[in-house]
Symmetry: C3
Subunit: 259 residues, 3 copies
């Protein structure tokens, strides 16, 4: 296994690196598989407060799938089923990650790279960021679940501009149209992302996990049960809530334990 | 009962005031309960054409729940069930109000205050407005239905920035990201809101109520029945529609009766 | 039949013209019916790669329904049922068009004209464009399905400002709030739209049709079947996908056949 996906840890914040800088961090099948495994393992680690995903180097977030291996690995429907099961698992592992996820984006963020960014909770871009999914130039399409991810971040019109026109948009347009929440000069990206991760890490981890769980639940059309609607109340029996109220009224900094 | 929620009437436009200026108009349990009652009563009054919600004074819209009483009133899950039933009733009374609702926002609009604003149909902010819901600093979360309200106005990424990062955003960012539709200098807020309320009051009240009813209906995933799909046609048997057509073609000002 | 809806063809791109310039291209019942027929026929033509919808002349996209005939043609609920069946068919024919659709907008784009624009996949506006649906001045409303169309493009708050306040917004505000994706000077509109249509025409037509099909499917709350989820894989058995991969890796321009 090459080191296609690497990690570094800084306190309770883990950075996952998409690591193939010679190809703008494009991911091959082995890397997608590794990404799924890494994200699943991080999700289960209760010590973590925030996961940042970024590309290695200063040139790119991720240019998507490594196309050079597609004729062999995804050359027909049978191949696509195997390949797609792996990329679906990677996207699901990011989407289902219990901890807040932050995409730090510079340079190309295209195709599968855009999907990774859209699977994250929060996107912060450097001014060099470029977004698109020119998949119709390959005669291919986004699957329903991939499209749903990008749709939630981009809205229907920008999604269709990227898919039908194969438009690549810059950071300024991505900000104006809501695909990313913040754009900063490239030189400030790392510090901005680190500060955001720090703010996330200071919040009650139980709150953050529950927030993510509720938001995912709202994306399903099934009616909410009484038990589900009561979950917000049971949070008030947690140690973190008692600590949060106590610290707020004492004007102290809370010390959350995540339970 | 303190005058925690007050009202003033100007023609067919009623202004509901969140009235606790010493605490940035934070609402205690009695105020939430009163807000639910006031909004329900206004909804039933056929003489009303528009309801404006604002804070008392020039400093704040509403800083949310009055936290000082939470250790007693919402200290555990059992308390939260009682407290939440009241705040849910207030949000539902705003959301279900048959008349158009307008939030006029200056200064802090946070926590439950943000929920009130998002429950309104239209939000107009002064440049001093600040938005957020830093609830993870308390170890708490938005319930599913509260989250759904803010999600509809803020979209998923800004919602998560406010919840996970505890970000407070200013009026300019709220405008850029679609959380509010218009921002004006604070000194022009009252006049801008009054003009908007006036325009609303000039429209056919039956149209406005039906518009709100249809939009609420679209938020449910249940398929529309034939009878529901026919409601748009039955509007053409109303006196207001006949008057609207007549006045338009005669180039006169219509005199709508609301039936 | 007057020439209320006309067409011109330029290669694989067809432009549909709303043709009633003396009345800002307002459509009467016969025109709505013709629009439905034209769009349905274009959808079935496999030689077409993109459909542009615009108004005749430089003054307007479309000011909606021709109100002068409404007292006779839509004067009561019975008339509205007949009239609405025709306009619904027109909107459905645009929405269901298998080929990418582009609205080229200058001047008034209001009422039914706004609905046409929102039924298109992509909206590009000249700086003179104006948007609104001041239907409550007529005592009328948007039906559920019409509202759903405008809601998807405008979001709930702008939709309600247009419906409840009868606001007419300019191109700049429409861009800022996401109702249109791009605004250019009027003098550049035709060239910008032609370039976008050209980019669309260069993509694999099977990809574009499948993208539109998947996006429509996502607007339904019904769970996706295994067969539906597998459709993305079957695309990899198409000639267009093989050609797309081949051309990409050979650094050549692909020659897509649409199968």
């Amino acid at each position: 296994m090459s080191h296609s996906i690497t990690q570094k840890k800084d306190g309770s914040v883990v950075t996952v690196l998409l690591d193939n800088p010679d190809k703008l961090n494009a991911l091959n099948l082995a890397s997608w598989d590794e990404l799924a495994r890494v994200m699943t393992a991080l999700s289960e680690d209760d010590e973590i407060r925030c996961v940042v995903i970024r590309g290695v180097g200063e040139r790119a977030f991720c240019a998507g799938a490594d196309i050079s291996e597609l004729p062999v690995k995804r050359g027909d429907a049978a191949g696509a089923r195997q390949y797609g099961a792996v990329t679906d698992a990677a996207m699901e592992a990011i989407t289902e990650c219990r901890h807040p996820t932050l995409a730090a984006i510079r340079g190309p963020c295209t195709g599968g790279g855009l999907e990774i960014a859209c699977a994250c909770d929060i996107r912060i871009a450097g001014a060099s960021a470029r977004f698109g999914v020119p998949i119709n130039r390959l005669g291919h399409v986004l699957g329903h679940m991939e499209m749903k991810l990008v749709l939630a971040a981009a809205g229907p019109e920008l999604l269709l501009e990227m898919l039908l026109e194969a438009r690549i948009i810059d950071a300024e347009e991505a900000l104006c149209r809501g695909l990313v929440g913040r754009v900063v000069p490239d030189g400030e990206l790392d510090a901005t992302v680190a500060a955001a991760a720090e703010r996330i890490a200071e919040g009650a981890p139980l709150s953050n996990r529950t927030t993510k769980k509720f938001l995912r639940r709202l994306s399903s059309p099934a009616p909410l049960s009484e038990a589900e609607l009561d979950e917000v109340n049971t949070v008030c029996d947690s140690d973190d809530y008692a600590e949060g109220l106590r610290a707020f009224l004492a004007k102290e900094k809370p010390d959350f334990k995540g339970k």
